[in-house]
């Protein structure tokens, strides 16, 4: 009886630890789904902190003066737009409040719909600042498919771009004053890694002030450019966008997503801890016993 009890205890201990070491990944999927969907449906409003990179990005964005010509480039697919949405809208709000002249351009076919979506979100600010299509903003559409197009825009803008996204001539708009890279005052790039390098090569390297909002996986590859001074500001993923919304005092999709963002990260840590307890308690023990004989 004692041996049976010990055997059962050994099995049950091994069972729990074994489960912790080898849990089905579908538990991870289920828990991640729940910890993300519940805070999105019922936001809690947890506190956020602002990172130095976001503060620097905001400071550079605030240097834009009224009338500055800003190249607002959306180098993202629609999937990346979901991650960059908060940063894009928050940055656009700041530019509109500074009464900059904004030229929207996209680097992917899926992004052609994005300028209309984000302009709808800042419509009230644009109306309050008297924004008029052509005089204050233009939507060019998909004009950055590759490096020759971007290089051409830097060297002779009107040779590459003659009409906007709806086929209307850009003559008579504020782009009449734009001929080469020197005529742009600012580039605000939102990137999943498409044409950002081309913009850096042909605009930023020549001296145009450029800031970038990139997805999380692109941050390590963009950080060196920030440290070297090639780009003046780097907004990191959805978290950076939420921090920017906090800084400008205009909550949006970023801040409302941060509860889910936080819980998702904590959930990941919990599962890693569970896995390591199981690994040390079961797998290592089993391996040691097997070696020991």
């Amino acid at each position: 009886m004692v041996q049976e009890a010990e055997s059962k205890m050994a099995k049950s201990n091994g069972g729990i630890l074994k489960w912790m070491a080898e849990y089905d990944r579908r538990y991870v999927y289920l828990v991640l789904f729940l910890v993300v969907i519940i805070p999105l449906l019922r936001p809690i409003g947890m506190a956020v902190s602002v990172s130095p990179d976001t503060q620097q990005y905001y400071n550079v964005l605030n240097t834009v003066k009224p009338g500055d010509k800003v190249f607002f480039t959306l180098n993202t697919e629609y999937s990346g737009f979901n991650e960059l949405h908060s940063g894009i809208v928050a940055s656009l709000r700041v530019l509109v409040e500074h009464q900059a002249k904004i030229c929207f351009a996209v680097g992917h076919v899926e992004a052609t719909i994005i300028p209309d979506l984000i302009i709808k979100e800042v419509k009230s600010e644009m109306d309050a600042n008297g924004y008029q299509y052509g005089r204050d903003y233009v939507i060019l559409g998909y004009v950055m498919p590759n490096e020759p197009a971007v290089a051409g825009m830097a060297m002779d803008f009107h040779a590459i771009v003659t009409q906007d996204s709806l086929g209307r001539s850009i003559q008579g708009t504020f782009l009449d004053d734009v001929h080469t890279w020197q005529d742009w005052d600012f580039i605000s790039d939102f990137s999943t890694g498409l044409s950002t390098t081309y913009l850096q090569n042909h605009f930023a390297l020549r001296g145009t002030t450029m800031i970038v909002n990139c997805i999380g996986v692109s941050v390590p590859s963009e950080k060196p450019y920030l440290n070297s001074g090639l780009i003046k500001g780097l907004l990191q993923s959805m978290k950076g966008g939420a921090e920017l919304e906090y800084l400008i005092g205009h909550p949006g999709v970023g801040l409302t997503s941060m509860d889910a963002f936080t819980f998702g990260h904590y959930m990941l840590i919990v599962f890693i801890i569970i896995g390591n307890i199981g690994y040390l308690g079961y797998v290592r023990k089993t391996q040691t016993e097997a070696r020991g004989g």
Binding site: Y78, A151, G152, P224, F261
Partner: protein, 212 residues
């Protein structure tokens, strides 16, 4: 005439001259050279745009071959070709309203979002299973990973401000170092490849055979 155009030496000369025509004005300001360089870049841009049309034609040729032969997966090829044709037709009705906009907003954008979002589940399960303290190095990786994941969660920085400088330090040192290393190696590789192309040691670029 065709033989002249196929001459590899002539192709190489054109390649080198084109390179110099775009490369030199980047560093030396000569107005006439700037103008010629701009023209060449514009021509390249237009030719590159035509490759999109060429790609569509190639897809149709290849797809029809699959469909006629009833090769494995031919219904998907048919679906793709029909979708391409439909989107071309829809675009004629305008891109800011109508069926084109509906397809973009109701089909392509949600599918694109799902494609991206599903990565979160895969990455979470992989990270949860891969982060194991198997040895000292793995333990160090695990600890740094913990700190970075905690730092990335916005609430942590707000509740425990002490973690912020640690997270920033890791980002400013290890992450930047690895990123720089990757960029430098890719850039040096690209420069070496470019020099080989200019010296004619990469004939595959001109569409003729393997390496020398």
């Amino acid at each position: 005439m065709a033989d002249i155009l196929k001459n590899r030496q002539l192709q190489l000369v054109v390649l080198v001259l084109s390179f110099l025509l775009v490369f030199v004005p980047y560093f030396i300001d000569i107005p006439q050279l700037d103008a010629a360089s701009s023209e060449l870049v514009v021509i390249t841009s237009i030719v590159t745009a035509f490759t999109v049309a060429l790609a569509v034609v190639s897809q149709y040729q290849r797809g029809m071959h699959y469909i006629v032969k009833r090769s494995k997966g031919w219904p998907f090829k048919a679906y793709m070709l029909i979708s391409i044709a439909l989107m071309l037709v829809f675009a004629l009705f305008g891109r800011d309203s109508g069926p084109y906009e509906w397809v973009m907003l109701s089909i392509i954008n949600p599918l694109s979002s799902v494609n991206y979002s599903i990565l979160a589940f895969y990455m979470s399960s992989t990270a949860a299973r891969a982060f194991r303290a198997r040895n000292t190095k793995a333990l160090l990786l695990l600890l740094v990973g913990f700190i970075v994941i905690l730092y990335q969660a916005p609430l942590t920085g707000a509740m425990f401000p002490g973690i912020n400088p640690i997270g920033v330090y890791f980002g400013a040192t290890f992450v930047t170092a690895v990123g720089s290393m990757f960029l430098i190696s890719v850039t040096v590789g690209a420069i070496v490849f470019g020099v080989r192309v200019l010296l004619g040691k990469e004939p595959s670029v001109l569409g003729s055979g393997g390496r020398e």
